[in-house]
Amino acid sequence: MSSESHSEAAHIHHPDYVKIWAVLVVLLIVSVLGPLTGIRWLMLFTAFGIAVVKAYLVAKNFMHVNLEKRWVTYLLVTSLVFLAILFSGVAPDVMKHQGLRWENYAAKKAVESGSQASAKHE
């Protein structure tokens, strides 16, 4: 191991990782119990809100993103911005099944046949 990288590594402050892991496990339990309440907004919050919190905890405490040079933050944020551009550019075509002069017959048919299957299932 080089002395340069060793001295750099030695400056990293290591928090109590077991405590962070315990918080992550508690959050996992909450996200599993969320749907049992039957409340839709609460289920969405416990599922996706908690996923964001868990990802933040892992990125900050396990990956030490906050301790890295700013280039890393720029790199990751740029990736996420391009991802958001992809989503917002494509989403209208995928999520809408018809517009002023067009109609997505295949998607409409898929929803219709799926709904019929659901009615039979119930």
């Binding site: 191991m1 080089s2 340069e4 990288s5 060793h6 750099e8 590594a9 030695a10 990293i12 290591h14 990782y17 077991v18 962070i20 892991w21 992550l24 496990v25 996992l28 996200s31 599993v32 969320g34 749907p35 289920m43 969405l44 599922a47 996706f48 908690i50 996923a51 868990k54 990802a55 892992v58 990125a59 405490n61 396990f62 990956m63 890295e68 040079k69 280039w71 890393v72 790199l75 990751l76 990736s79 996420l80 391009f82 991802l83 992809l86 989503f87 494509v90 989403a91 995928v94 999520m95 809408k96 998607a107 898929a110 929803v111 046949s113 799926g114 709904s115 299957a117 659901s118 299932h121």
Partner: protein, 191 residues
């Protein structure tokens, strides 16, 4: 000093090259998995009938695998801590435990998929199942790759060789964990 660790000696941006490369890989993986997840979310919102298919996924297996990956991430960061302290053999031990977590994840996934395929839910069973097998399969391949790389790095770490690589493989593993953190609610919770 070993000639093999040259990537850990170079540092143009102030970040050792090996670690910078790992971040670049993670950035490119954000596009791969992010693109897939974005497509899944768009289709899921546009196709309410996918909820019927999603009701067949096994939440208990998904939760167990989330627990396994979170725990393996803990071992990965403990390996990093041991490597920082210059304790290669301890870092190697934690890396092997992380690999064990990866293997357990794949075993659970294997049982889960076998059950689903026996039930008749295959890749061509509909839009939801296509996404399910593609995203979870690609993630599984990343787990497998990480598992193998970790075992290789562990064998070097035992001899106190190239210890900065322990942090690099840990970064990759935590990213694979983060991807699963988002896959879990998307595929197993939102029904």
């Amino acid at each position: 000093m070993s000639g093999r660790s040259i990537a850990n000696l170079r540092s143009v941006t102030g970040i050792p090259t090996a670690r910078l490369v790992t971040w670049w890989i993670i950035a490119s993986e954000i596009f791969i998995f992010g693109g897939l997840l974005a497509s899944y979310i768009m289709h899921r919102l546009a196709h309410p009938e996918w909820a019927i298919a999603a009701a067949n996924t096994n939440t208990k297996a998904g939760a167990l695998n989330t627990f396994v990956l979170l725990t393996s991430s803990l071992f990965a960061v403990l390996a990093h801590k041991a490597a920082d302290a210059g304790d290669g053999p301890k870092a190697a031990k934690f890396l092997r435990l992380t690999s064990l977590g990866g293997a357990m994840f794949l075993i659970v996934k294997g049982f889960e998929w076998t059950h689903e395929i026996k039930e008749g839910f295959v890749l061509s069973s509909g839009g939801f199942w296509s996404f399910y097998y593609t995203v979870a399969g690609l993630h599984g391949l990343h787990v497998l790759a990480g598992l193998v790389i970790m075992l290789i790095i562990a064998s070097d770490a035992t001899k106190n060789r190239d210890l900065p690589r322990v942090q690099c493989v840990g970064l990759y593993w935590h990213f694979v964990d983060i991807i699963w953190i988002f896959l879990f609610p998307l595929l197993y919770i939102a029904k």
